[in-house]
Amino acid sequence: MSNDKHPSPKDYAAPQPNDWCAGCGNFGILRAIQSALAELALPPEQVAVFGGIGCSGKTPYYLATNGIHTLHGRVLPFAQGARLADPALTVLAVGGDGDGLSIGAGHFVSAPRRNVDLTYILFNNGVYGLTKGQGAPTLQQGEQTRSMAVATELAGLDPLSLALASGYSWIGRGYAYDVAQLTQLIIGAIRHPGTALLEVLQPCPTYNDLYTREWYSDTDPETGLPRLYDVADSGHKPLIADGTAEDEIAAVRAACFERILQRDGRIPLGLFLQDCSRPVAAGAVNSPSEAIADDHGKSLTELSSLLDTLRIG
């Protein structure tokens, strides 16, 4: 990437072959990430993308930034650790609905409490893709996708409700094939100082025969309106400005929850909440590149005053 011209999405693409299935929604998300990074003109070495385990978790391999393929369900603590240690990094965490809402649910709930500045993109395809199509937590009770032996007996988890209850300070939802909108959402999430959760509806043509690209691009049979629409169009107010009073915050959050629960055959996309009233985790005061020893390896730490306070006699 040359320094003088604005980078293009291609500058963020890695050369290795991609092994997602043809038609997978992941391609759209990948493109949106590349576009967002380009639009923000972030230096690739300052971007670290952490992936969970699953088809979705392979995303970092296809980006020319730093890419760290972590463990199933653990993408958030890894990502937070890097961002806390080096506040100069732009940190993205990506992972599947199984990764984030099943094995990783504890971190999903805990991460926003710290409000580290990072963007978490949750790929919602309703299935465990890489393990061959078992039901993921976003599937609704009674639903059965292609490779399941029986319909799921488990109730579904809604990522946005859970995100709201857990306290993410930025909450949004995009669609894998609306790359333009998704790009803008990713930009918004990256720009937001704090922990952002972006759910992406992601068709898995191989295993999820319920929520397909066709289904998403269809109209709602009852109203005849498009299935997907922008939540802003319904007058939703996502913003909590810094310094907002407690009761007003509660009101915005309650309205947001109501909005999230209203899922009447149509699905709103866009920004659901941006809470600027919360402090962001400070992160390190020392840069990782700062010396801790002199040239002879002598520790630069000055312990003696601390030791003196501990001395007896």
Partner: protein, 638 residues
């Protein structure tokens, strides 16, 4: 008035939450002010308030190295302490007890475990009262002194013109003062100790000084013979630290960048200490502020520390038993990605929740084999609070030089063992940050896993211009991209493993094993970790009885220092391994790695540390040719 060879062993007991710890610290400080180095040991239940705890202070001319099973002086305020500890009194020892606690029977001590109660009943009769036990031990030569705390406290209250209740909290100081003066400490030193310990509140100081005066008066009235403490030697103002503190200090000295933790006994104290002292200055005037992050669980702790390590900061976490179990998967990721990471592991009684506040060396084999598949790691163990400071610094060096997770094994005993330490010198260990990739002219892709000959390729760090790269827990090629090629797989397995062969070659002998005592002695004692003091004390006693003994403490447990160890092994004829676990994990490891089998394995697995005196007794049976191959150190009264 001197037993167990060189040291004097003082004990105080009582319910948790009643100030027993503070009392012990006061006694310890009084010793230090008198120039006597001390060693402390704290025993307590997994409970917040009410259950029994006790605290031993050993004081000697030279810094005591281990505690003893036999007690020279016991300070007790209630019946349960007497029930639990009278059996441990040595003949000639002194018991100071509250005369109000007489009359209480075994049946009326609810917190005595049924099995302890039964055992005492077998000894003293099922309906035994405190009085009967006191009579029993008195008959054995123990001097039992009843104290009327009621009278003393009343006198203090009268002097201050307040209600007795209002001065109740200094009852402990009265007891400590009585015992300290009986031991023969100087009243002035005791007063200075009070002034320093309670310096936060002058009112406190005054009150406690008053308690000392009254105790002193009371002693005069009683006319109990006052002892002669060991000859003081120490000149300097020294430190009295446990391992939570020394390791935290070692991490600060080592340039810690981020420590993540989830609370767990007995590991929490280290992180709490770091939280309270995390702002340290640099020689060059900057301040360094490592981040100490309380996270949601141990899985987050290890993965967050790994994430931090990828940026190049020195990252660590600290945990204990169940926490290490939860870190298993994260450890493998760090191993696979050659991440420098320090895991300070405080062993405690296992398995499962086990005995959270009791000690054990039960996690050695787990530390070595934790995690599915095979990946490099180092496991080291410290033998003392002081060593642990330097080992904490070494751990970071090893982690960065060899690019692997380092498990630093400590244990509960070290966290509640207080050592007298002259100084901690952060310049004594040179900081080694290993090889790193430099900023890279754009173009060339970075090989974070380059197939270097020694298996250690320069580290790629996040955020370095031109150095963007991939990392993954999946088997990968030199670029960190997934590879399932069988040959690449072999190369990577070989690359990762190669450093394990290098480590025992490169580390100094001293860093691998530490030997003390008579070179070429026929009797070789081998231990690892916190038993060091007990081994040295036992060896000293054997030596005094004319035996030649060598003590080898193994500091590097993995990769195994087979060569270093074998050289010493060959020069001895009787090799004895000592461990605090059931199965003899080190002895097994030794056999696995060298084929060598020890002649005797001495184990203790009651959740209590090996004591020098008891170990010496057992070693005598071995010397006399009467020892079985496996010997168990047992003491039901700890």
């Amino acid at each position: 008035m001197h037993s167990n060879d060189e040291n004097y062993y003082w004990r105080i007991g009582g319910p948790q939450g009643t100030g027993i710890d503070t009392s012990a610290h006061l006694f310890a400080r009084a010793c230090l002010f008198s120039g006597l180095p001390v060693l402390g040991r704290r025993e307590y239940h997994s409970n917040i308030k009410g259950r029994h705890s006790y605290f031993d202070i050993a004081a000697g001319t030279a810094p005591p190295l281990s505690v003893a099973e036999r007690v020279d002086m016991l300070v007790a305020y209630e019946a349960e302490t007497l029930f639990r500890h009278l059996p441990s009194m040595r003949s000639g020892g002194v018991v100071l007890f509250d005369q109000e606690s007489t009359g209480v029977t075994l049946q009326h001590s609810p917190y005595l475990d049924p099995s302890v109660r039964e055992r005492l009943a077998r000894w003293a009769g099922a309906t035994a009262s405190v009085d009967e036990l006191l009579a029993l031990v008195s008959a054995g030569g123990v001097r039992c002194y009843p104290v009327s705390y009621k009278r003393i406290m009343q006198a203090i209250a009268d002097e201050l013109r307040v209600k007795v209740k209002q001065v109740d909290r200094i009852r402990n100081t009265v007891g400590v003062a009585l015992s300290a003066l009986l031991f023969g400490l100087d009243k002035g030193d005791l007063c200075r100790a009070v002034e320093q310990l309670f310096c936060a509140s002058s009112e406190h100081v005054t009150l406690n000084l008053l308690a000392i005066e009254h105790a002193s008066d009371y002693l005069l009235q009683q006319g109990w013979p006052v002892g002669q403490p060991p000859q003081p030697r120490m000149q300097e103002r020294s430190l009295l630290l446990n391992v939570s503190q020394s390791v935290a200090l070692g991490k600060l000295a080592g340039g810690l960048g981020l420590q993540s933790y989830y609370p767990i006994s007995p590991a929490t104290d280290e992180s709490t200490f770091l939280e309270a002292h995390s702002t340290v200055s640099h020689h060059d005037g900057r301040t360094l502020q490592p981040q100490v992050v309380q996270v949601e669980d141990e899985i987050a702790a290890i993965t967050m520390a790994s994430g931090a390590a990828l940026t190049g900061v020195r990252a660590a976490t600290a945990t204990s038993g169940p926490g290490l179990s939860l870190m298993t998967e994260g450890l493998g990721w760090a191993g696979m990605n050659e991440v420098p990471l320090v895991i300070t592991h405080y062993q405690r009684g296992g398995p499962s929740t086990g005995m959270p506040t009791r000690t054990e060396q039960g996690d050695l084999q787990f530390a070595i084999h934790s995690g599915h598949g095979e990946f490099p790691r180092m496991v080291i163990a410290s033998g003392s609070v002081e060593q642990a400071f330097y080992d904490a610094m070494h751990a970071f060096n090893y982690a960065e030089r060899y690019q692997l997770p380092v498990i630093h094994l400590l244990d509960k005993h070290l966290t509640s063992r207080y050592e007298t330490i002259t100084d901690l010198n952060s310049a004594a260990v040179a900081i080694d940050r290993g090889e790193r990739c430099e900023a890279n002219a754009a173009g060339e892709r970075l090989h974070p896993f380059r197939l270097d000959e020694d298996g250690i390729s320069p580290r790629a760090l996040l955020g370095v211009p031109g150095c963007q790269h991939w990392q993954t827990g999946v088997e990968h090629d030199e670029y960190g991209l997934v590879s399932e090629d069988p040959q690449m797989r072999e190369w990577m397995m070989e690359k990762r493993a190669a450093r394990l062969a290098a480590i025992p070659r490169e580390l100094s002998l001293e860093a691998q094993i530490r030997c003390d005592g008579d070179e070429g002695a026929p009797l070789l004692l081998i231990g690892w970790g916190s038993t060091r003091g007990a081994l040295l004390d036992a060896a000293a006693r054997l030596r005094r009885e004319g035996q030649q003994v060598r003590v080898m403490m193994v500091r590097l447990l993995w990769p195994f220092p087979a060569a270093a160890l074998a050289a010493e092994w060959q020069r001895a004829t009787t090799r004895v391994v000592v461990e605090e676990n059931f199965s003899g994990q080190f002895a097994a490891l030794l056999r696995e790695q060298t084929g060598l089998q020890c002649d005797h394995l001495i184990v203790k697995y009651s959740g209590r540390p090996v004591c020098g005196d008891a170990l010496a007794d057992t070693l005598f049976t071995i010397v006399e040719g009467k020892g079985e191959p496996r010997l168990v150190l047992r003491n039901p009264w700890e």
